[in-house]
Symmetry: D2
Subunit: 425 residues, 4 copies
């Protein structure tokens, strides 16, 4: 598992480009005996969000091939269809699904020896790509889970689905898997994220649920206006600069909500073609968040109104495109309690069932959880705790690889509790 994690770390691939990673996952699952779906059988084309342009997809595909992508699976994964699902059918019984995410971040990795991946030779060789959020560990752990459950298969009654998801960063990938229908028959659903131990007050191996995860919508916004010479005929321009400045101030000024926390951010802006020209084109990358899906909807609706009105105000045109979105995470109490019980009592892990995490991040696994819950199933997120170096998303991020062992224990323990107990009973 450690070797795999380090291999994935070294050949880090960002969202929708995970051809090498996914092809290796597909190969391993096949070898273990899973039924494997990949590419267009996993991700519904039109439900994917934030897919890069074709030129970039082609370039990254070539790199993946050069870096050892599995030649059988790679062609099926190209063009932004990097999802893989492994299925293990063990007769009648409930369907238990688990999600593992595979993508890296656009971060330049630390090369200093104080950073273990650099020191031990598995730092990213793909410039500007880095597993700074632990998904390399999630993927390796998923393969560990695959192996254990395959070994236990004689004792299981029901179906195991292992979902390896692309493009979790930017909350872009989960929806396409959900819309393909892969969650429609799921009775129990589990997902996880590695979490730095310092965020909990005490030493724990696992915290069930994901208090503090926010619903979110990511929007790319493009303004188009009309250029004019800023000295000679400023009145002829339709100035996107004024639309953008007005939008920015008003976006941050969206009212606070008594129903819970909100967030708004204009992360990047790029506009204009020259100093003495009235700007005729501009682009912003923005995001909104809310402690619940309803609160997030309030902020998104308000933001869209601001963006459109700021265009109308200056005679410019505004295009908005959702490039990512997630609901808030709502874990089912019953399943959370089962996780506690199994992990604490059977797996002898240190579990804290009550800890409230500080809010901030978002997860598009929420799409999967909501689909399962909407159809009567139970879903829960788990925080797998670990000693970490550097904050998440920083170039110094690393984690204690023992975390993966705890993850495998939790996933397999709960799956066994569900699928194995039926026989015992």
């Amino acid at each position: 598992m450690t070797a795999l994690r380090r291999d994935f770390h070294k050949y880090a691939e960002t969202g929708w480009f995970e051809v090498r990673t996914a092809s290796i996952v597909a190969r391993k699952l096949t070898e273990l005996g899973y039924d494997v779906l990949a590419g267009r059988d996993v991700c519904l084309e039109e439900a994917r969000m934030g897919v890069p342009d074709q030129e970039e997809l082609d370039r990254q595909y070539e790199r993946a091939c050069r870096q050892g992508a599995d030649p059988e699976f790679a062609p099926r994964l190209r063009d932004g269809f990097t999802g893989v699902v492994g299925i293990l059918r063990c007769g009648r019984g409930p369907v238990v699904a688990m999600r593992f995410d595979m993508d890296a971040l656009g971060v330049i990795e630390e090369t200093n020896d104080s950073h273990r991946p650099a020191r031990d030779g598995f730092g990213s060789v793909n410039g500007g790509c880095m597993h700074a959020c632990g998904h390399d560990g999630h993927t390796a752990m998923g393969l560990g889970v695959a192996k254990v459950l395959m070994e236990l298969r004689e004792a299981l009654h029901g179906t195991v689905k292992l979902i390896f998801q692309p493009a979790e960063e930017g909350v872009r990938g989960a929806k396409s898997i959900v819309e393909h229908g892969h969650l429609d028959d799921v009775d129990f659903f589990l997902g996880s994220h590695v979490t730095g131990m310092q965020e909990a007050s005490g030493e724990y191996d696992l915290i069930p649920g994901a208090g503090g995860s926010l619903a979110t919508t990511k929007l790319d916004v493009i303004y188009r206006g009309k250029a004019a010479h800023a000295g000679g005929s400023p009145e002829e321009g339709h100035n996107v600069m004024l639309s953008i400045a007005t939008a920015i101030l008003n976006l941050y000024a969206i009212p606070r909500h008594s129903g819970g926390e909100t967030r708004v951010n204009v992360g990047t802006v790029q506009a204009g073609s020259g100093r003495n020209v009235i700007a005729d084109e501009g682009k912003m990358e923005i995001e909104v968040r809310g402690s619940s899906t309803e609160v997030n909807d309030f902020v998104e609706t308000y933001a869209r109104r601001i963006l459109q009105s700021a265009a109308d105000m200056h005679g410019t045109i505004c295009q908005m495109k959702v490039v990512g979105s997630a609901y808030s995470l709502e874990s089912d109490r019953e399943l959370m309690e089962r996780i506690c019980r199994v992990c604490r009592d059977k797996m002898h892990m240190r579990v804290n069932p009550k800890l409230r995490m500080k809010a901030g991040g978002s997860e598009d696994i929420s799409y999967m959880m909501k689909r399962v819950q909407d159809r009567g199933g139970q879903a829960s997120f788990m925080r797998i705790m670990a000693r970490t170096a550097g904050p998440g998303h920083s170039r110094q991020f690393d984690f204690d690889e023992h975390m993966m062992v705890n993850g495998v224990k939790a996933f397999c323990g709960v799956a066994y509790d569900i699928l194995g107990t039926s026989r015992e009973m």
Copy 2:
């Protein structure tokens, strides 16, 4: 004329409240032998702009009566119909019209002895009302012109129309007289304004035309939103404060125009009902200007779009009401040259035919001039120069009363040149 000017100065009345002033004008014109129209026969009700509310009209009417308004004319002038027209018919011939404005400003007059009206006992007795723009002189001068032309009537061939206009400040009154039709038969039209000599480089008595007068539109803007408790449920409000702040910044940011000067001003704002309440109502008094009517239209159209979009942006409602407007002043070259010739050669006045005045103010006499010109007549403005104390609209403003003599000379000289020459020829 001086006594009259001082009387008008002492009992200063602001726009649409000039009952006392106008009734005295009507009385004098009647005594001189003019046919006199007053009130609703002068101002078309629905074309009046910026009329105060009825309660205030009633209160000011009572004051005018107490302060010696003519009992015959006052009742016809009440309720915001304070225009007077005096007509002198002298057989066949062209129609020459002249405009004199009568209203004061909402300024608190200086009471220090350095201010001549205070020193000589004709400072305004109406608190917060002051003739700080010289219209008291214009009105007295108009009655001087009436007297002279009546004396010359045997020598005249045609018709003289003396128009005493209310509510020039805020450019609110002229349109109602134009829309009533009083300018429709006019062949030659003259108007004037007293101007401080220091604004010209040299000593002159008169400058024909009015270079620098700007077209303008005055708007009252009301925003209505929805109140909410700012602590308990800020998301339930529709906050006019955000609409207003967004509108203000964007209004001032309207593009400069290569076709000429522009101005924008948000003069007053008043909004909100309490510190801890999301503001649900607000009002702004704004104005836009342009060196030409076209440039002013550009700014007004842009301003309206901003005001509406700032409402849309925050779910508030915006009402805009035009409470004053004026075109730019375009004097006819031929008439300007006639004024020069008459005043310089026959009246021995010091005339500067070429001086460009700095831009800034606006005049709703432009409505009258445009109507005359649109129907084929000629119109010109004249600046009657005078030594002045204090800038226009300041509480120290005063002017050398000899200006009125020059004004009478110019108006009567030109009128005689038009109406008298036909006989001589």
Copy 3:
């Protein structure tokens, strides 16, 4: 108690004007046998916030006298010193203090018969003043508490302090009492507010603590610039309109805080002197809030920086004045548990010890609680539940007067538990 409440309701007095109310309180306390402090003996002059101007103080004082203020106490309470403290000394033992607030709101009361005060003839006779927040009930309840404790005095060991506070609305009055030192010797401190039963999910008589109360700072902000003619020389102005609009947008755009909820509101703005004048003066009433005192400090500090920079930006001057402030309410767990035990077990009230209230409001009793806690004492707030009509601060607000009985039970029960038990032991 009901008669008293209705009397206070009918003669509603807003903050720092409570001369009639406070004088009646002082009279009653005196008659009951309390040692009574009033006026300058209660409120430290320089620690009062948001005191109206002297002219208004004089006018309201006259009204209070006309409406039956007690002639002995009224003179001591005038000029904005409307606090009263009643002290009952029962030998050695702890000091128990309780706070009752007395001021009304600037709300126009409903006169329709659907509103009980209107129907039953105790609607406010003071136009624009209304007890729309239940302080009339608090005051009456405080006198009820005074009566009961006096009757029990033989059984008490220690000191009772009943603090009748002015100007709670706008969080202006508590600080002046704290700074005078009245809380310095207090061992146990209690305060309360009536709360609508619909805010709890279920029927309860009392909820200890005050989850959701926010720390807050109220600021009056004045901008001063330089006037200029908006048409003639706009460049000569220092435009407060631009400072204000920039400040408003940026105030609402202050970052959300991961440490808890925040609020910002610009409740009112008033600026400018005329449509065609660059505005040279403006005023805003604003408030900030935070779920903790630290979070509120973050917002206040940021707001002050915005307000100052918006002045610098346009060459205007900014003055900020704190006219109210409160900490977040932190009730002591031990005292809250005592309240629960006493009220539930001994007083047979329906108590909900865990209910989290939605955040929103603020209370300056926090000054008193903090002082007690800082010196080692215990303090707790209590929500006395009642059926209510209309939301708090609305013109239809009313409450079931039986609430006052529950309030008296809670205050006296706990006081007896503290002061009476020592003898029993």
Copy 4:
């Protein structure tokens, strides 16, 4: 001259990169017999504005060498020192200097056959560089002037200085030549620009002076703040996005000026590093203009205050760098009249001495003119009229090459009138 112009057009070089163009100029001047200064002998290092970075300078130098830069002069012109001065000394007498600018624009040239340079095979081979403002013609014309004056040298008494200036676009280059002292001994100074005939109402060959040229300052503005996770801890960021948006709106809202026209433009903005990160760095390219140097100073000073205050407001840091500037052009009446007389009477050109051009552009020749005038000399700009295709700075721009003949006539005619007449007298 046409062949030269087309050669310069084909190998278009933008500001401070004109190594090929300037080296050919230096070569030709040397061959004609001029004393030639080049590189650091022309441009004072520290007075150059807006010089690109060294890497780009190196890359462009290589290209110039590959494209036929003169091997003798190129090395002296590298590293952003692309000025050339040719001097012709003809004994005692006045010094007459003339300015010709050489740089192209960052415009992608039209490749359609409707565009003559494309059709006739001299379209720019340097992608993204195009002579879209006619400086290719100016340079060729300057060499034409050099040839004629050399032929006339026997008849001249005094000194001719031909200044070939780099980096006029962005008003970056003139200052460095002035500060080197090349204008300090000049008695008469001439410069010109080709102007589209449609901008004049009528067919003219030349208009003396340059009415409508604006003073300007070009600023690069950098904001630096502090990054933070937009979801996890927004309060820890110092958000440059808020500084930038506030600055943009307020920059456009700088007051209009009664002293003349103003312009403000934020041409480009680029800020932020990722959607979910509080932006910690941003850059803007802005410019201000004014009809006079004083008016431009007003706008620049105000803009700087806004930029700084917008930083203070959000705890960010603002750096401003002047990367270009020009005064307004003030041609001397006496020299303008001489140009008229010479061109009309002796050269038989069609001259319009009075036409007012619409304002808009800026020219850093103003630095040279001002230096000459400050030291007692006379300076004038000339508009050489031509039929043009496409507006200036557009990808379709082209001009009738006969313009160059008129230019040579005007420059040489006036020079001869000054330097030749002294002998005749």
